[in-house]
Every structure is written in C-alpha cells, then in structure tokens.
Symmetry: D2
Subunit: 509 residues, 4 copies
C-alpha cells in the first residue's frame, strides 16, 4: 500500500506558499466559530474546496422569490419525515428527473449498485458527507445507500447546491441540510445538523475541502473514536490532512482520492482538452483556425489545451519552467518560448501553471488589440488582474464572464471570467468526469470501511492502485471497450496477479 | 533523494518470470568461466543487454576479409601505444569522421565539455566501461575524458562494435578492447583486459547489461573497495543489481539510469512514434492510409505507435490488460478490443506489451492473407514464432528481415524480423535518442563520483530528479527552446527552488 | 461526356428535385403577390435563402414589448430623415457599438475602405440590397458607402434582423426597411420601399435568396435597363438565376458568389470543423473522448466534422454514396460503413449529405438509448423527423433546441434543433466567416459595376479567380501571414502573371 | 473572364515556360533520329516522362555481368516464340514471382479480370504501349490481355525496366522490347519493333511521356487511320497532346488520365504524406519531433508533407504565392512566412512548388549548419543546385543520395538526391498508388475503344467522372469499405443517377 509519505523528501520541497497561507486561515477556523465579520476569509476558504466537481449548470428553479430562510420553515416529506432542511421540498419531482438523467451517464455507480445486491459492503456504515450537492452527488449518495450505508449530508459550498436535487434527496429519505445561497452561519449550522444527532453517530466521513472534518475536530473530537476513516477529494482538504498528519494530530486513517491516477487524468488532461474550446467559444464565438496562441505551462492541463487548439488549426506556443515538460512540448511540436517573445503577436493567452502572476501588467500592456486572456490553471492568481484595476483603464462588461479592458489608446484586451478558471466559469464539467470522481469516492469509502485492522494507520493514504484500476474498469463499458485478461502463463511470466494491480506505483501512464 | 526501495511493495509483485529465469542463467555465469559449450546461454544473456542503444547502422568496412583474430595482431597507434585491441587501427580516420558527425547531433555532451573546461568534475576518475561501441559511445567516452576521467572500454555485445570507431578511439589514446564478431571467449578476454591492468584500478563502472560488473564481482571482488559507484542503463543489468541488493551483496552504490524520466520518454514514446513507421516502410513499402491495425498494449510504446499510425490515416484498434491504460486508449480515440475480435480483419498486428505469447498460433491461423505481424515491445517473446515452425507451413525469405509464412491454402503472413524488435532490427535509433542516454550516463557518473560521503549507500538509486531535469535542459538548445525562469516571488509561492527540482517524484509527466 | 475544355453537361445531370420543386414555388411568387394565406409556402421559400450568413446571436433588445408595427410609426433620425423603417430608431447607439465590434473582426472590408479613399470604385453606383441585417451586413453596407455607392436595403428573412443594427444604419443615413418579426406582407412592403422610390433607381442588385431580384422582375421589369448586374450569394438564389438564364429570361449579368472557392471553404470545411463541437457542447455538455460517432456524408462539411471529432478522441465512422469521397474517408483514417452496420452502437449520428431521409425511422428505432442525432448538412430534410411524430413516442423538451424522444420501452433519443441545421441553430457563425462572404460580395459588385462593356453578357458568372484570390489575400493580414511574390523569371517559367490568377479554374484546392 | 459553363481560357494563361521549352526539344526529336551525340538532350526528355509511376525498387538481378546487347542475342521463350527482346529470358521465373506479389496489391485490376470473364470489353483491341516496365505494369498488361486485347510493349525510360519482369512477360507470350540500360538508339529501336510489325497494326496507344505517340506521328502517320484513341498519363505527354490539338494536328481522340481526380489525390496528397517521412528517414535517420521545417508550396504535395510532419511533432512553416492556398495553410495551423524570415532557423527545407529557383544560393548561404534541403515538387529545378557547384564549396557524398555541401567556415548543408525528387529517389511509390494509375489507364482504354462513333472527336479529353468514380470504387474493397446506395427517392431528390456520376465536374473534393 502506497503512503503519501513514502515519497518523502517530495513534500519537503513542495510546501507552496499559498497552501501555507491558507492553512493559517484554516487554523483560525478551528479556533473560533466564524462570525459575520469573518465572512470574507471563510468564504474564500470555502470557495477553495474542490471546485472540480462543481457543475456550472444553473438551477432551473432559482427564480423562486421565496425569501424565507429554510431554517425557519416547517417542511415534511411525503413519508412524514422532517429530518432535513432544504429550500423547498415541493421541488422534489423536478430534482428526481435531474437525478435520473445523471444516472444514465454514471454507469459505474449504477454497476456498483447492481453488484452490491447480494453483499452490502457498506452495511452498518454511517456516513456523514459534505460536498457540492448536485444531481451527480445524489447518484453517489443513493449508491452509498444501496450499498448499505446510512448518510447525512451538508453542502461544501454556499452557492453550488441545486435546490431541487436537495429536495429530491430529502423526499426519498436522506437527511440533507443545504440550499443555494446559505449564509456563513447557515453553512456551519447545516454541518452541525449532520453530525450533532441524537442516537446517531457517524463512522465514516466523506469530505470536500475539509470543513466537515475540521468541524468535528473542533466540536466533537470524541466522535473520532468511532470513525473508521476520512475520504477527501480536494487539493485543499488533502493539504489540511497532511498538515494534521505532520502535526501528529490525525487520529484516523484518511484517503486522498484527489491524486488517484484515473481522477487526475480526467480532471485535467481529458476535461481541459474539451473545455478550453468550449469555454473560448461560448464566451467569444471566435474562430480557432489560424489563431496564434500561447499556453503558459505544459502540465496535464496545458497538454490538453495545446492538443485541442493545435487540432483546430491554431498555432500554439508554450512557456515552461520545467525542462522535462519543456522538452515534451518540443517533441509534441510546440515552439517553447518566453512569454515576452510572443506577447505582441498572439491572439490568445492561456495560463495553466498553478503559479501566480504569470501574466503581468507589463505583458498586458504589450498585447495587441483584441487579445483574449484567460486562466485554465489554478484559482485566480495566474493573471495579475488586480494590476488592471487602475484609473487609466476602462472596464466594459460585454457579456456574462467577458470584460473588455480598454487602454487609453483604444486597445482592448478581452478578459474572460475576470481571471478565474475558464473551465469552471464558462464551460461545464461533463457528467462522465464527475462519475470518475464519485466512483473513486465510493470505492475509497468501501476500502476504508472494510479494511482489516491494521492495514491503515493514522495517516494519509492514496487510493490503492488496484482500486484505481477498478474505477477505470467500471467506466470501460461506456465505450463498449473489451479488456483482455492475462492467461495464467502470462501472469506468471510478468509476475503479476491476474486481477491487478498491473503497474508499479511509480508508473507514469 | 529517491530510492527505488521507497516504492516498496511495488517490486514485490513485479518479479517477472523472465527475469527470474534469467537470473538463474546469470548465476551460472558467475560460477564458471563460459566455455564453448556454454555459448548459447551466454550469447543469449549478452543479447539481453541494453539493445536500446544499439544502432543498426551497418559498419562501412565490414567487407574486410582479414581473417586474423585481433588478439593475434600486433598493432600500434600513431603515438606508439599498443594498449588496445581492435580489428584494424588503420580504419581510424574513417571512424573519426563518424564520430565528428555524431558530435554534431549530441549537443548536450558537447555543452558538458565546454562547461567542464574550468572545473574537471571527473578529475581523478578511472572509469571502466562496457557498452555498445558506436560513434555515439565514442562521443560519450571523449566527453568523459574531457571532464577529467581516464577510461578503459570493452563491448557489451559481440556483434555491435563499429570497428572503425573502435580504431579511432584507440588511435586517440583510449584503451579499447572490442571488435565486431567476437567469440565468447574474446568477449570475456576483452573485459578482462579492461580491468586487469598493472598499476591502474578503476574507481567507477559504466555498465550495460551487467556483464562487466559481474566479471569484477567474480574475479576481482577486492576491486570494489576503491569503486565509488556503478552506473547501469539496461533493464537486465538493473535487474541484476536489484537482485544483488536484495541478497545483501551489493557493496557499492549503483545508479539505475534506465528509469530516468527523460530517457524513458525518448526510448519509448518519442522513438517508437517514428520508428514504427520507418520500420514498416523499409521492410514492406506499404501504404498506411486506410489500413486497419491492431496494437497490443497501450503503454508508452503502444501510445507512440498508435499516435503515428492514426496520424497517417490508419484505423487503429488497441488491446490492453490494464483498465487505466485501456481507458486512456478510449479517450485517445481508439476502440479497445480483444485480439480475437479484430484478428480476421486487420492488415497489421503490432505487439508492444512486454508480455509473452500475445500473438498465438491460433491468432496467426485466423489472420487474413497478407497480414503483417511485428513486435515493437520486448525481446522476441510477444509473438509465438516457434509455433510457426511446423511442417505444413512454408517460410519464404522475401527480403532481409521479411519472411512470408505460407499456409497450405496459399495464405501468406508477413512476419518482420522473425518476431524480434522491429525498431531495432529494421529501423535506426536516432542519434538524438542516444544523446539523451549518453548524457544521462555522464551525469550519473559525475553525481556518484562527487557525492559527499553518505549520500549514497550500498543500494540502487534512481537518477536524482534535478539531474534528470538537467539532462532535459541540455537538450533544449537543439530546438532553440527558451525556458522560463521563476521569479523569487513565484518560487516562494510554489515552495520551489528556482533551479529545480520542479516536480515531486511521483509526478507522472 | 466530359471534355477538358468544357464543363458543360454538368448542370444537366444536376438538377436536384428539391430545386425543381422550389422553383415551382418561386414561379408562383412571380405570378401572384403573396397573401396571408400563402404565408406558409412563402416563409418556407424565405427560410431557404442563404442561412449561412445568419448569425444566431440574439438581439439584445428583443424584450421590447412595443407592439406597434414599425409601418405605423413616425420616426426620424437625428438628421431629420425619415426615409427608413425600423423597429426603434432610439436603439441606434447600441447597434453602433455592435457594428464597431464587428468592424474589428472584418479587416478585409476595412482595408477596402482605406484603399478606396483615393478612388471610389463604386462612385455612382446605386445598390439595392436584400440580405440578413446584422452587424456584419452593416459593415458591408458602410463599406459600399465609403467606396462611393448609395444603398437602400431590406431584409431577406423575416426573423433575422437585429433591430438595433437596423436603427444604427438608419441613424447614419442608410434607408433601411427591416425589423425582426415582419409579417409576409411587411416583407414585400419593405422590399418595395427599397426600389419604388421617387427620383432614385438602382443600377446594382445585391441579393440573398433571390426575392428582391424576382420582385423587380415581376413589378418593375423596366428597371433592368439601368441595372448593370446582380450579385447573389445563396444556393437558392443562384439556382433561380440559372433557371432564368436557361429560360432565356436573364436580362443582366449575374454573379454567383456562392461558389467562389474561398467562401465555400470557410462556409463548409473551416466553419463546420469548429461548429460541430460547439453545437454539440452547448446543447448536450457531452464529452467527445471515446464516443462512437457516425458522420453521414464526406463532403467539405463531413470532412470538417470528422476531423474535429477525431481530434477530440472520438471514434468516427463515415457513410458515403460517392466512391471518390469514400476513398478519401478511408485514406483519412475513417471506417466506411453503411449506416445500418453501426447504428446500434454509435453515440452520435451526424448528417452532412444534402440529401433527404438519410436517417429514417427504422434507423431511429435501432439506435441505443441516449444516442444523439443532429443535422449539419442541408435544410431539415436529412433526418426523417416527421416519422417521429407518432403517438407511441413521447417528446420531451429538455433544453432549448434539445428534445428527448422517448420510446415505449424508455429508450431516449436526443434530437437536436428538431433536425434543422445544428451549426445555425445551436452554434454561431464566426464573424471571420461572414467577413469572407461580405468581401466577396463587395468585390463582385465592384467587378460588375466597373467591367468594360461586353465582358459580361446576360448570363450567370462565377467570381473571377483573380478576385477570389484577392478576397483571400485581404484576409491574410489577420494571421500576420506573409505571401511570397513570384520573381519575373519564375512567373515566366510558370507562364503566370505575377499578380495572379495562379491556378487554372479546374484546380481543386 | 470565367463563365460557369466553361473552363476555357484556363489553359490560355497556363502555358508555362518549361513546357514550351520542352516542346521545342521534342520537336527536334521528330525531325531527326536521335544520334549518339544527341543523347544528353534526349535522355533528358525521356526522364521527364511520368516518373510518378517509376518504382525505385532495385532489380534483384542487376549484378549480371552479361555485357552482350540484348539486340544481339537469340532468345526463345518456352513456347518457341522469339518475338521479344529482353535482357535474359531465363529470369522469367523470378519476375513471375514479382508479378504475383504485385497482383495481391492490385485488387482493382484483378477484379476487372474477373468481371471480364463473360464479356471481353477489349476483344479485338491491339494495344501498343510504352511505359515503365515493372511488376505493376505487368499486372496491367496481363489484365488488358484477359480483357481481350493483344499488346506489344516498349519502355518509356531507358533505366527503369525490371529485366526479370520483362522476361516473365516475354515468357508468357507478350512481345516486350525493353531492358535496363538501353542506349538512346536502343530506345527508339524498341519502340519501332512494337509498331513496325508484319500483319499487325495497333488500334490503341497507351503512352507515358508521348515518345511512342510521336514516333508513330513521325514514321507511320497512316497508322492513325486505324487507331481509335490514345491514353496518356504523364504531365509531359499530356502537354504534347494539347499542343498537337491546338495546332490542329491531333487526328484521333486522346484521353488525359493524368488529371483524373483519384489519380491526382493518390499521386500527390496521399503518397507524399507518407513518402516525405520515408525519404527523410532513409537518407538521414533524423528525428522529426521538435524539428523546425519550412515547406515551400501548399498544393496537394505540400499539404501532404505538412500534415505528416506536423503529426510527427515538427514545427512547420509554409511559403506560398497563391493567397487561397496561403489562407488554407493558415486555417490548417501553419505560419505563413517568406522563406527569408525563417531560413536561418529551420532544420529542414522542403520544396513542393513546381517552380524554379525557389531555394537560391542566397538562401543556402544563410541556412544553419546541418540544415537538410530536399525537393518533393517538380523535376530538379526548385533548388538552385547549380549555384552550389562553385570552387569554395566542398561536396562530400556521405551516403547514396546524400551529399554534404561544406562552406569554407565548416558549415554543412545536407542536400538530398542532388535536388531531384526525394519521393522518387529515396522512397518507394506504394503499389496501391500504382494500382490507381493502372486501373485508370485500363478504364480509359476500355472507354475509348468502346465509345460509340462521335462521342469523342479529335481532341484531348479527361476521363469521364463516372469512370473516375469507378476507379475509386474498385479500390474500396481493399479497405473493407461499404458504399451506401441511393434510394430511388433520394436519387430523384438530388437529381442524380443512382450509379453516378455523383458530383459536377467543378467539384473540388
């Protein structure tokens, strides 16, 4: 079993500043109940939870002008239960249809349900969850239920809940506490309602961003005695766990599903290969053919963006700091340049570095009229948008997510999503990508819940490769893909188990 | 510093049978001096040394009908030295020109020479080497010399020596003991002449296949007292080292350069993307457009083959045993099938699995007339060629490396290179790929030779990532590629050193 | 039988039924003024005008609930003129901004304006136009004005007018008669207001669909005495002209700009390569990677669709009736199948044939659950949508332009845009494509207006290749593309004029 | 000025100088029997015959040191006939095997044979042919025989005959007069032996380059009374025919098969897409990934080269003189430059223009060390190789077809094939491409031979599109490609015959 720490030394030189800063923020959260005043820092922390599973699909029922807080309403589902808190239980039917549509595109979870009809691998599990609440999450929750688990759920983001989906879950008996547009106080109240229950105590945690985990740490530390493990899927939440582990304060096993191979490939390479085109098209209706583009960063995201744009007839330049990735860019047919060399000539600038201030005001000053600037990488740090908030520049909002920043000489720069992530703001995350994530989460819960005593200690673990492979295999039928099985002779020759794992942990895929 | 063993568990379930068998063979080699009778097993062992650096370029001077054994000749170079043994010292001038041409395509080594003019990082190093002896190796050896080292060299393969290059090296003062067509006895005699010298004792070993290392283990174990490290580049040699390490018998640090990132990408993905086309074209003059091809295995080699053939207009099917690689194939646009599903319809079958008997007689029986079968993967095990040596089938050699195997009904299968590696038998390894390998070797030698006491123990190590990145960076100027440097602020933000390493060890590139 | 020197006979065997039928409809139009009752057939005819220049961009000001007909309003522009009829002259400012944005993406027309500052190639021209009225058309009209022409304009489609753009044109002095949502009676009234003017008679016609031309034929045949030529850009309009010419009734030269090389490539290959992805993504948010797609038809549109989807990792099958195009599909790496062979397995069906009933109810019955069906080809005939209007099937509108058609067993087919053109309904036509068309129109007008007596007779002509090349050359600066000039020696060697044309007319590009 | 109905005028402005000059040369040939002294000019003319069907495959039996001229030998085949003249009739068996292998890759001709078993469309035809004599030609000849024709054959090139194939044809009864290494006198003697026969007079001509046609014009003009037509496949030969036609001297119908769609696509786009890689690899063993390449000319050949190199990871620049092709290059993702802009930085220069002196000495002076220069376009005029024959430059032949040209400062330019066509000199033409050509020739012969009186006049014709489509359809089974048939309803709708032709003549594919 691979432990994160076994890659020691690695994390030593990889303690990025933004994580450290963030951790400071988070420690605050443990010390004092967030107040209205603390809202900015808190909502920032919340928004850093795993946005990769946040579907930008708009709620169909947002136009509701019901101003009453859900906390002040009395609602019951059709079976008479009122152990939930959602915007409007009457939206359940509409949410159910959304869930049914999502089910069709999440075949892996549906397959898990089928396989679990005899055995219930999560029988006895009491899972408390805190994630975005979308149709896809609903499919995950109902799958966990079908596998034998009891669940209670809150939202990990105050904006992302689909109210009708929450209603549908409540209607079918899930204690869900979430609505779109929660206040900060609501946010923590909902979480508390999930864990602070008479006669019910969770034994598993599924978290996205770490807020739930830390609430329990702060308020109900004794609860960890019964908890068998934590599954966490966000960069931020994972980082918090490693910090706890380092500080010797992690008192249960935790599984980092963010870094599983299958999830990473889909979150980055495959998803961005499509969303870069989609995001640019929806915002600008531009034509890609013949356009000169510079892509900053040639990691998985950059590779996806470059491949897509090259295929559409763009001329793509790449910038990189890492010589190995730089050499890959060369071998893939991209000119490797410094940003300054091409900044005057390009039509589009795309950042995918995970770094900060990759595009500076100086770069922006030198771009040509009409140049499009967007960020596919990380948070909102890559483009120095703040530097554009100066008096001599005029901002003009021309569409949703599209600003023209106008220089005194009339030059216009087209800034997308104000420098936030284009793929989340101006495109959608395909359900198939979310299916990969949800399946990974389900298997991690099963693994932790069923692991024999001693397999996992009070540490942070990667998903076992065999389970990672299983996630992949559950998605192959979607493509009518037929896997070959090793013969006994071949397995012996290769020194492999016929059922995997098939690769050493360091394999690079 | 990453140790191989830190990926523990991995190697545990990755002890392939063919390595185990081979190791048995190799142990024999330590026990008795190979005899004429032992030739088959030995030459097999030899041929398993790193064929990846074996250039198929023919010697220009092979037509020599000089039958005298070099061991029986008296030769001197122009400076009067006779401390060498080559086919014909008079071929030196021709070999020199080959070396000069190779120098032009190995800019990284030439850059190392320049940088080393002030400091001599290998001053005092006494390197004994055992590799293929080609123009590219010569550039490496002369670079090591320029960096301050003394070298003595033998061939790691009895067939691959370019005689004129060996002559050129001897002429310029390198004690080289190698010629094309050595007997088994010659082979070990040459190695012995490298190490068994009055008044000179090696302190570094550069090996390719492990024969030199094991000769010293067997005959001169005391020599290891002065040896600072071993650099090994072949799969086989690396495996031998891990066996020694496991058995507690490794008495110096060893560096596995086979698995460095840059080398792997070039040996597999980039090289095979081109050599699959080249190998097929040179042997069959076929047209790729519209052809149906099945590629068995979607690792780096398979990915390269698939990408190239797809780009040329072939219709490509993929078989896989690993669900993660299988899912990658799907997302890259290839139908994932079992071999049986398409075997009747495909025009070409390519194996890249590392496995054995992937293409069986049953498959061969079902292929259509004219189907081309070749192996890009591993050794000669992937296609069950032996099964074709039956009386009812007729073999017809139609060109060098091309056999028609004819069924009783007239059906012909086109078998390339008798199932051995197509890219080595029917294509060439570009100098640029060899430059990556040679640079990796040089840096590994420098690292081991200069490492402070205690950094490396008696174990097998991967090349430090920083050095791996350095290899890549030395090859960027070839592409006029300009790397971006982190600002201080950015480095701090990312928690990185501005000079690298830039990625954690588990990064998948 | 084909002779090199002549393409005659070509059109003989290419008189498709739908054109014949349509022509019958059109003849009706000449015979009687359309009435309310005739509306259906008429609007059908109208909708067959060149939809390729119809931008789907929504008007920003449609929410206006002003129900008064523009014909009943009294409006004046700021200069006091009331020679126009638009929805609301007060929207002029907003429309002006739209025009200014379009100007930035139509550099060829802007270049024409600049070059025309000295000479006014259209001085004296009185152009009456009937096209879609969009920001791009406005740039064309104002360019014609800058080149010296007077213009009067009506809309060729009762739905496509952008009211604010029409207002802006009216404000700056163009007599424009058009609004969104005209009745059939309005439609002809507007056209009539363009031509039936005291003291002004057109000498050039720019038409899109042929309605204007035929109105003049019917009502003011004497007007043709002063008319120097007609420029027509739609398939339908061009067909009408050939019919007139055949019948010996064409009394002025006409230029068919629909078939110019540059326009064709952009309307079909380049535009569809991007819009197929955009249209699918906006409607379904699907992931392309690994999906199985069948594209019916491998003309320019099919080639564009196939290339794009292949690049995104889809597995693409092609159907064709023409063996030459079929062989091209093979050589480009697509399996050529009959639709029946793959209909059960594909995830997406795309038609690009120009044919009718390519996808039949029988095919639809056999598709798998969730299969997406859309049309990129021609009109709305390719998919037999009517066959889905049967009682046992349920239609469910799930989004704008997206219907689920549900079979009794629960199978859902996802039908896009009800079988109408996906790229027009669910994507946008990039301004660059419209720029190519508009520039072609402008040059055709200049050519016809300035041609010496006798160059053009009463016939239909293709845009001279030299002008076609000029359109292309005006768009090269967008890409910072630098054309090479022939030396005198080279021009002589090739037998070419240094300024073109560079290719024979039969050249296939 | 171009009219839709006619492509006339086209050829008017396309009388390239090199064709005019060549024609002057050729007129000489009609005036005087070539003498030893005239050899240079003649062989030049000969070498300009259709080299596109010349396979570079070496004869396997050339090492023969038999110096006797075939004209002086007495040879009989096994049936006792001596009506042939080949190098050595005993090589027949080896040639037969070559023919049999070729048959497997020329399925279209084999299909024609089968279909012709009942009817013999060439019964009574007496065909005299003059082409390259290769295994593929043999398959064509034997197909013509199977279709009912009698044939007599000479070589169109003094170097390209495969002696063993000629022997096999002679052995099976074909009067063949050809051998490798004919003198000029031999060349015309062989042609004369084909036509000047007692009791046999040709009624069809199949020519490649026009030498046979013109020999008959000059020596046996009366023969044309019985000749039903000429089929010509080379650019040069076709040009000669148009000249004759223009001069009113063409006295039989002639068919230009060079410009048929299918043949053109395969000769240029599809063939060059593969042969550019093959030619570069075989000569230089270079790696394509990351290399900077400039391709001069973006016609079909240039498009093929660019697509292939881009796919292999090269960075490709394009130069063009034609704005339409230039715009295509932009939309396909290539930077359009003038050669001067990139000449210092590129690793490879490839010409595909059909022009002369595209690469001048000035360009060559500015290239960087190691730059590779080659010609994929036309003849040997594109690179000014003559300018490199100056005293200060040293030429060094490093391999067959590879010269290093060395500047005084040591800079080396790698010149391939001395500036002649790379794809013919250093690669092979796949049999599939030759199959397309041979099938086109066979169908043209059938058409001309069977055409009803009056269909063809004394003029030059293109292959009817229906036959062009038939050539394509005969090659579809190779790819297991399944063509869709129009329904009656669809055919009516499109105004097409169900059996084609499916496109108008001006269709651009």
């Amino acid at each position: 079993m691979e432990k994160w720490d076994s890659n020691e030394g690695t994390s030593a030189f990889h303690m990025p500043e933004w994580m450290q800063i963030q951790f400071a923020d988070q420690k605050q959260e443990f010390n004092k109940r967030p107040t209205k005043i603390g809202r900015r820092s808190l909502s920032r922390s919340i928004s850093q939870s795993s946005t990769d599973s946040y579907s930008s699909a708009a709620s169909y029922t947002d136009s509701s002008d019901d101003e009453t807080s859900p906390r002040d309403k009395q609602q019951k589902n059709s079976k008479g239960s009122s152990d939930f808190c959602v915007k409007n239980i009457k939206q359940a039917e509409f949410g159910r249809r959304e869930i049914e549509i999502a089910e069709q595109e999440m075949p892996a979870l549906m397959a898990l349900r089928k396989r679990a009809q005899g055995e219930k691998p999560l029988a006895g599990a009491k899972i408390v969850g805190c994630t975005h609440i979308t149709a896809q999450t609903a499919v995950l929750m109902e799958t966990l239920g079908a596998l034998g688990a009891q669940c209670r759920w809150a939202a990990c983001n105050i904006y992302s809940t689909l109210n009708e989906v929450a209603a549908a879950l409540a209607e079918s008996g899930f204690p869900v506490f979430a609505w779109k547009g929660e206040s900060e106080d609501d946010f923590w109240w909902c979480i508390d309602r999930c864990v602070n229950v008479e006669g019910w105590q969770p034994n598993m945690i599924l978290d996205d961003g770490g807020d739930l985990t830390h609430w329990i740490y702060k308020k109900y530390p004794n609860m960890f005695k019964k908890i068998k493990g934590i599954v966490e899927e966000s960069v931020t939440g994972v980082h918090r766990l490693y910090q706890l582990s380092k500080a010797g304060k992690l008192c249960v096993p935790a599984m980092n599903v963010n870094d599983s191979v299958t999830k990473q490939k889909f979150d980055n390479l495959y998803c961005c290969r499509e969303s870069i085109l989609d995001g640019l098209k929806r915002t600008t209706d531009m034509m890609f053919g013949g356009k000169q583009v510079v892509v900053c960063g040639y990691g998985e995201v950059g590779k996806g963006c470059c491949a897509a744009l090259k295929a559409m007839g763009s001329i793509v330049y790449v910038t990189e700091i890492d010589p190995i990735c730089a050499l890959q860019a060369c071998m893939d047919g991209f000119r490797l340049v410094k940003l300054n060399e091409v900044i005057r000539q390009v039509d589009i600038v795309i950042t995918c570095t995970g770094n900060k201030n990759v595009v500076t005001r100086e770069h922006l000053d030198r771009m040509k009229n009409g140049c499009i600037v967007c960020n596919m990488g990380h948070s909102n740090t890559e483009i120095d948008v703040a530097s554009l908030r100066t008096p001599e520049l005029t901002w003009e909002r021309v569409r949703s997510q599209v600003d023209h920043v106008i220089w005194p000489d009339g030059k216009r720069i087209v800034l997308l999503a104000e420098g936030r992530l284009l793929n989340l703001s101006c495109s959608t995350v395909p359900t198939f990508v979310l299916s990969i994530t949800a399946t990974t989460q389900a298997l991690a819960l099963i693994e932790l819940y069923n692991a024999p005593e001693g397999r996992y200690k009070q540490d942070v673990y990667l998903l076992p490769k065999k389970m990672d492979e299983y996630v992949a295999s559950l998605h192959l039928p979607t493509f009518d893909a037929h896997l070959t099985e090793l013969t006994d002779e071949q397995a012996k020759y290769l020194g492999l188990n016929k059922n995997g794992p098939f690769k050493p942990n360091y394999y690079r895929y």
